[in-house]
């Protein structure tokens, strides 16, 4: 394996060895070799020709499908800002639920999340740009992560709802006690227990919004 082959292998090492990626990698290798030969024919040294060819290749990630280059700080700022917004809304929604114990827990959790998101946002907001100014985002991978989060969220909501309904009503099966919701407070307490897990929908929605953010920033680099 010569220097060029080694360089190309390193650049493609993070990608899976799929047939189309291997073909693409070989195509890049052939093109670069041709470029080196061409530069050397024009009198460049081997190292000089290699450097020119590698420079002309640019960022390999951007050549792959489903990748997008963004301004690093701007993207991070935007993502952190969205995190603040998407923690702020459920935080406000859960404030009236603080009359109930699960509501206090949920609201405290969102408060914590909001605080962390706020600190991160302020950090990025006042961070002065240094080093690498762009970043390549694997959009396809982000889409997959979002799908996984939606699946996990659906499972969580399903299990929570089953658990809540079970604890409220299924004891009737074992203990032969009739189902009783006495008074509006008890009814509200039941409704809060059922509704609370659904408020976490803002977590998968955040990841969807991040994809929109990428669309917004597309072509800005």
């Amino acid at each position: 394996m010569n220097d060029l082959e080694g360089y190309i292998h390193r650049q493609f090492s993070k990608y899976k060895h799929k047939k189309e990626i291997n073909e693409f990698r070989d195509e890049v290798l052939v093109n670069l070799q041709a470029r080196i030969d061409d530069e050397m024919a024009q009198g460049k040294s081997q190292q000089g020709a290699f450097n020119i060819a590698v420079k002309s290749l640019g960022n390999v990630d951007l050549l792959m499908d489903g990748h997008q280059e963004v301004e690093r700080n701007r993207f991070r700022r935007g993502a952190a800002q969205l995190a603040v917004l998407y923690a702020l809304i459920p935080w406000i929604i859960t404030i009236p639920l603080r009359f109930f114990h699960p509501g206090v827990l949920a609201n405290t959790g969102w408060t914590l999340l909001l605080f962390i998101a706020g600190v991160v946002y302020l950090y990025f907001l006042y961070q002065t740009g240094s080093g690498e100014t762009t970043q390549v985002i694997n959009v396809g991978r982000l889409r997959n992560v979002t799908t996984v989060i939606w699946v996990l969220w659906t499972i969580y909501v399903f299990l929570s709802t089953c658990f809540t309904l079970g604890t409220w009503f299924a004891s009737d099966i074992w203990f032969h006690l009739s189902i009783q919701i006495i008074g509006p407070y008890m009814f509200a307490s039941f409704v809060v227990s059922v509704v609370l897990p659904f408020i976490s929908v803002f977590i998968p929605l955040y990841f969807v919004k991040i994809q929109h953010l990428l669309q917004e920033q597309k072509g800005s680099v």
């Binding site: 800002q81 917004l85 702020l88 935080w91 406000i92 404030i95 603080r98 009359f99």
Partner: protein, 189 residues
């Protein structure tokens, strides 16, 4: 877009903080205050909530958990106490750890509380024969027969809201009634 979102964040943050203050320092503070008032009212025989004690109506004095819960909702509930049950005589002793002087209550209020607690225990525990309310330096003993004799009906017949209010609670505002009932119950002046 960033500036608009920042504006939205600031507005939402203000709304959230205001809502949190209203909930925590307005509504919930008010609820806490009402709960404290309610808890205090339970220590007064005239304002003790009948619906809160009738939940502990039970046929047996041997149900220790029920005895504990019943007395935890009666006057003197705030005074640390333990129980002693004699199954053969079906007698319940409630042993309080503070004396009448330590409690700092007016004598009439103390006597009314004793009368009320004894009545409540006989009314709610069907097979209770005798009860002794013991304080350091003094103990107050009364039997079911004495209570029946005072009210003219079996104590268990007092366990509906209107009878309880009419025949037990409302009369305890009369100092002479309290004094007479105390004497009839515990044989003291």
């Amino acid at each position: 877009m960033t500036k608009e979102r920042n504006l939205v964040i600031i507005v939402l943050l203000i709304i959230g903080v205001a809502a949190l203050c209203v909930v925590e320092f307005g509504f919930k503070a008010n609820i806490r205050h009402q709960e404290q008032q309610y808890a205090l009212a339970q220590l007064n025989p005239q304002t003790n909530d009948f619906s809160n004690i009738v939940k502990f109506k039970n046929p047996y004095v041997g149900d220790n958990g029920n005895d504990v819960n019943l007395n935890a909702n009666l006057p003197f509930a705030n005074v640390p106490h333990t129980f002693s049950i004699d199954d053969t005589t079906r007698e319940l002793d409630v042993l309080y750890t503070k004396s009448e002087q330590d409690l700092g209550m007016a004598t009439s209020q103390f006597q009314a509380s004793l009368v009320y607690n004894a009545t409540a225990n006989f009314a709610m525990i069907d097979n209770l024969n005798e009860i002794t309310l013991k304080f350091p330096g003094a103990s107050y003993h009364v039997t079911r027969a004495q209570v029946l004799s005072w009210y003219g009906v079996a104590p268990t017949q007092l366990t509906n809201k209107s009878s309880w209010k009419r025949d037990v609670q409302s009369k305890l505002s009369n100092l002479k009634y309290v004094s007479d009932a105390f004497r009839a119950f515990f044989g003291r002046f």
